[in-house]
């Protein structure tokens, strides 16, 4: 989708007068426009003051649950009391440096991956390395660092790790699926189409139930598998179908001549794909992949449905604490801000990247 940029040529530094003139035209340009402005102001006057009163002015910023119940506005004291639980859930408090470090590593990896000048071969090694490091930090290593059962994992690190593991594993799988869907071998093409359409046709909740109910049955007798691991496997398979369609869009954008020229030079299929087609195709779809990744991060909240303590579920559980019963709105708003920061930041980044890639 290319939206046409309707902005006129930009002047170097808009003067204050020009800004004021633009504002006047944009708000009171015609009688209809003035009417719309007045209507919008009236709507805002209706909504904003009570919201501000609830959020800030009348809110309780410190104290305990009783102080909060005395007032009838937001209770931010709840957040300061439960922030550790919302972010880390049931992870043992004395070991909390481990999930915090895992989060920091993951965010560092994301930051490095976001900078085009860090796009080097090393990044492909850094991803699995960081993921394994995070997993070891969370799970512990018997004999070296104290093991922590995955039943006690929770909060932001769980959301981030499941998201990163699933996305990183789904991407190569998706490239193979997309190649199969465009291959000249009908058998592979059929399998790939069936797989992609099946996965895209069913809701993620059904996939999670599959992980909970069917996967344990389908394992060989006597085997069992961790709940988080089961969710990761199914979610990876699910996301791969969505990513495959994005990658396919990129493959279609590479002219056939590229492949034909490479074949004329005597390169084989895998060499052509690896050296000629995929680098061009993936470059086209990077912004699309970023958008997809943001959608997936928001979708990790569905893990709450099967009882994994991701960020959203931890927030929900935090307001079930008898000492702080019922401050759900505050808990949800707090995690909404975290999700929003990732989502909005990611979409701005994607726009910036698109412009940059188009320029170079």
């Amino acid at each position: 989708m290319t939206a046409i940029d309707l902005d006129g040529p930009r002047t170097a530094e808009p003067s204050l007068g020009a800004v004021l003139a633009m504002l006047r035209r944009g708000l009171f340009g015609s009688w209809f426009n003035s009417l719309v402005t007045l209507g919008t102001v009236a709507l805002l006057a209706l909504l904003v003051p009570p919201l501000l009163r609830w959020l800030v002015i009348d809110a309780t910023w410190s104290g305990n649950a009783a102080d909060c119940r005395a007032g009838d506005s937001a209770c931010w004291a709840f957040i300061s009391a439960k922030i550790r639980f919302i972010l880390l859930a049931f992870y043992p408090a004395e070991l909390q440096w481990r999930p915090v470090l895992a989060c920091a590593l993951m965010l560092g990896l994301l930051a490095a991956s976001a900078l085009p000048r860090c796009w080097r071969r090393e990044l492909a090694i850094a991803w699995p390395a960081v993921i394994i490091a995070c997993w070891l930090l969370m799970a512990g290593l018997p004999g070296v660092i104290a093991p922590v059962s995955s039943n006690q994992w929770g909060g932001l690190p769980v959301s981030l790790i499941i998201w990163a593991v699933c996305f990183a594993t789904a991407l190569p799988l998706a490239v193979l699926l997309a190649l199969a869907r465009r291959s000249n071998m009908a058998g592979l093409r059929l399998l790939s189409i069936a797989y992609i359409e099946l996965m895209r046709g069913i809701p993620m909740v059904a996939i999670l139930y599959f992980a909970m109910l069917i996967l344990p049955l389908a394992l060989p007798a006597g085997q069992s598998m961790d709940k988080i691991l089961r969710a990761i496997i199914m979610v990876t398979l699910f996301w791969a179908a969505y990513i495959a369609e994005v990658v396919r869009g990129g493959l279609q954008a590479v002219p056939d001549g590229q492949r034909e020229a490479a074949a004329t030079l005597g390169l084989g299929y895998w060499r052509i794909m690896q050296l000629i087609v995929l680098p061009q195709a993936l470059r086209v779809v990077i912004p699309g992949l970023v958008n997809q990744a943001i959608g997936f991060l928001l979708a990790t909240s569905l893990l709450a449905v099967i009882g994994i303590f991701d960020l959203l579920n931890a927030a929900k559980a935090s307001a079930a604490d008898p000492a702080w019963l019922g401050f759900y709105d505050e808990a949800y708003l707090f995690v909404a801000v975290i999700y929003f920061a990732f989502g909005y930041g990611g979409s701005r980044y994607s726009l910036w990247l698109e412009r940059r890639l188009n320029r170079s």
Partner: protein, 397 residues
């Protein structure tokens, strides 16, 4: 002679075979091996599953559908009580999913178009507000929004202190009450006339389609005429038509249509979440029509409203339709989050079925098949519509 025929048919067969071989592509045997490997994998998993089920004493099969389901369902468009069959319970779930998905698609489209237009308006304040709305809604998870909606629905006051909007909509913690249209005792000729009017409109649309005279405006205009005719029939027939508004009586609210808190929360959540997506689609669609189209139409002396209806929207719809289709499909799939807030949709009831019968495999298989059927059905319908609008005025690709 027969020899020639035989040779010809053998040749044709060889041709078909060759065609098949070309279609099947290189490395035919390796591909067959991949197929066999996939089948073997599924067979292995299924065999394990059957063995596991046998170990816990469950025999595979769909016989459980006829057994009595010993659970109640919170709300249902058809009669259901504990003791009815599992098949009927699953049907109730499917109908509940349809109910929320269809209403959600309609409301999300209305709100989404409004927000999309607001986003494009020349008014800086309104477009800014629309943008804030879209960004906040798009960048927070749907499940989180649903949790907030359901918390809100349960935090509403009781019926006696209900929040009342325009004396017609009652918001209470027992649900949302809205007015409904009640018609009783429509005479036979009235019903027949109504059917005739509807059929006439359908014929008018079909003919317009063949002659390519269906503009958005003519469709909307004839639609309005049809509604007016229906209203006239109702008035003439003298059947009592009442807009039954809910009202407080005693400790509860009577009259009108009631929506349970779960349904209202799910509907509100889906509507808001997908209105933001549709608003972006509408905006992208209208922006995709080149500025030159506006300028050319203005040079011909068309007014802004005419340009929008006759020049821009018909072209924008070509971009908007396929994208909105995928939004609708996402909405249907995301209505499955109902399970998290206690609305008995298809996924929720299939999950209960799997847990109470142990037939998880079969229950999920039903779920997957139903969703695939819904998806294919909606895609087919929207493709038909898409072809219709794409045919009008061939634009160079």
């Amino acid at each position: 002679m027969t020899g020639v025929v035989k040779a010809a048919s053998a040749f044709a067969k060889a041709g078909a075979l060759r065609n098949f071989a070309t279609w099947w592509g290189p490395r035919p045997l390796a591909q067959v091996a991949v197929f066999l490997a996939v089948i073997a994998l599924f067979y292995g998993l299924a065999a394990n599953a059957v063995a596991s089920m046998a170990r816990i004493g469950i025999s595979p099969g769909f016989g459980f559908l006829d057994r009595a389901a010993n659970f109640e369902i919170g709300e249902s468009p058809i009669a259901f009580s504990a003791g009815d069959t599992y098949a009927r319970a699953i049907l109730v779930g499917l109908l509940n999913t349809f109910k929320v998905a269809v209403l959600g698609c309609v409301l999300a489209t209305v709100l989404g178009v409004a927000v999309g237009v607001a986003r494009l308006s020349g008014n800086l304040l309104l477009s800014g507000l629309a943008r804030v709305y879209v960004e906040i809604v798009r960048n927070t998870p749907l499940l989180l929004q649903l949790f907030l909606w359901i918390a809100l629905a349960h935090a509403l006051p009781g019926p006696r202190q209900a929040l009342v909007l325009f004396d017609a909509v009652f918001l209470t913690n027992r649900g949302v009450f809205v007015p409904r249209l009640v018609v009783d005792g429509l005479p036979g000729w009235g019903a027949a006339a109504a059917i005739l009017v509807l059929a006439g409109w359908g014929v008018h649309l079909l003919r317009g389609r063949r002659r390519a005279t269906n503009t958005l405006r003519s469709v909307l205009g004839s639609g309005a005429a049809m509604l007016a005719a229906l209203a006239a029939i109702l008035l003439l027939s003298g059947a009592p038509v009442a807009l039954e508004a809910p009202a407080l009586s005693g400790f509860n609210i009577r009259g009108g249509a009631s929506l349970t808190p779960e349904f209202a929360a799910l509907l509100a959540g889906l509507t808001v979440k997908f209105s933001a997506a549709i608003a972006e689609v509408v905006r992208a669609g209208i922006l995709s029509v080149r500025a030159g189209q506006w300028e050319a139409a203005r040079a011909l002396g068309l007014r802004d409203g005419q340009i929008m209806w006759r020049v821009v929207l018909p072209q924008a719809l070509r971009v908007i339709t396929p994208l909105t289709t995928s939004n609708y499909l996402d909405l249907i799939k995301d209505s499955s989050l109902a399970v998290a807030i206690g609305y008995p949709d298809l996924v929720s009831i299939v999950n209960t079925t799997a847990n109470t019968t142990g037939q998880a495999f079969e229950a999920l298989l039903i779920l997957i098949l139903v969703y695939l059927a819904i998806n294919l059905g909606v895609s087919a319908l929207m493709n038909l519509y898409n072809r219709r609008i794409a045919l009008r005025g061939e634009a160079p690709a």
